[in-house]
């Protein structure tokens, strides 16, 4: 599955989030490619799941979005995304 992490610039928070999600997927034996991107480019990119914070989530009306409370706290990220990732990866 393909996961897109999104923040304002695509080079800071979303990149750190992508690293965390890669770890989480690996630990749970889920094959996923994770890419980070900026808010403006995100709508044009394909993904099975978009992961971002509440403030930026609203623009993704018709997409599958997981809202995270933290870009860096692995425990919180796991709580916020793992169930959805498991469901999608089926």
């Amino acid at each position: 599955m393909k996961i897109l992490t999104v923040c304002g610039n695509g080079i800071g928070s979303s990149l750190m989030l992508a690293m965390k999600i890669e770890e989480i997927c690996k630990e749970n034996g889920i094959a996923a490619s994770v890419e980070s991107t900026d808010f403006n480019s995100a709508p044009g990119k394909e993904a099975d799941l978009i992961v971002t914070v509440k403030e930026l989530a609203e623009q993704f009306d018709n997409r599958r979005v997981a809202v995270i409370r933290s870009y860096v706290n692995k425990k919180k990220i796991t709580e916020d995304v793992l169930d959805i990732i498991k469901e999608i990866s089926g």
Binding site: I11, G12, S13, M16, M19, V53, E55, L56, V72
Partner: protein, 154 residues
């Protein structure tokens, strides 16, 4: 890698700022003074926060202001600011902020190693607690220089 980025010029302690804008400016000024970014980068960091919101406050009391590479970055840089008194960014979960880590990157990828190491700093609660309780600038730099970073295994 990160030990080369946090330097005498990019770390400042007990910085006075009356609001988040002043705090971000103070952090940006360090990157400019160190020759990592142009003045325009500081403005871009402020604009980002105004436009995109307060999500750059990424952990309790810790903000990570930054902007895009094309907004006046000269070379990769990272800075740390400890405020003498905390300011609010408007982030419900993690305000008030007393530590800022600013960074500038030249593209989307060459700083990945630095960011991976930075995450290990952010997760080093003991170190952050020491920084907050008045750790001297030299001691902060020494700590970062000597910290053993775990490399990503892939």
């Amino acid at each position: 890698m990160i030990e080369k980025l946090f330097t005498e010029k990019t770390v400042a302690v007990d910085v006075a700022a009356k609001d988040w804008e002043e705090a971000v400016r103070a952090g940006g000024k360090l990157l400019v003074a160190a020759g990592c970014a142009e003045e325009a980068y500081v403005t871009a960091m402020l604009d980002n926060i105004r436009r995109m919101g307060q999500y750059i406050v990424i952990a309790p009391g810790l903000a990570m202001p930054h902007a895009r590479p094309e907004c006046g970055v000269k070379r990769i840089g990272m800075g740390l600011v400890r405020l003498s008194s905390p300011v609010c960014f408007g982030n419900e979960e993690y305000d008030p902020v007393d530590l800022l880590i600013t960074f500038c990157a030249v593209d989307q990828s060459t700083h990945i190693e630095a960011l991976a190491e930075l995450m290990q700093i952010i997760e080093d609660e003991e170190f952050l607690a020491q920084v907050r309780s008045g750790m001297e600038k030299d001691a902060i730099l020494d700590y970062i220089q000597s910290k053993k970073f775990i490399k990503a295994d892939d």
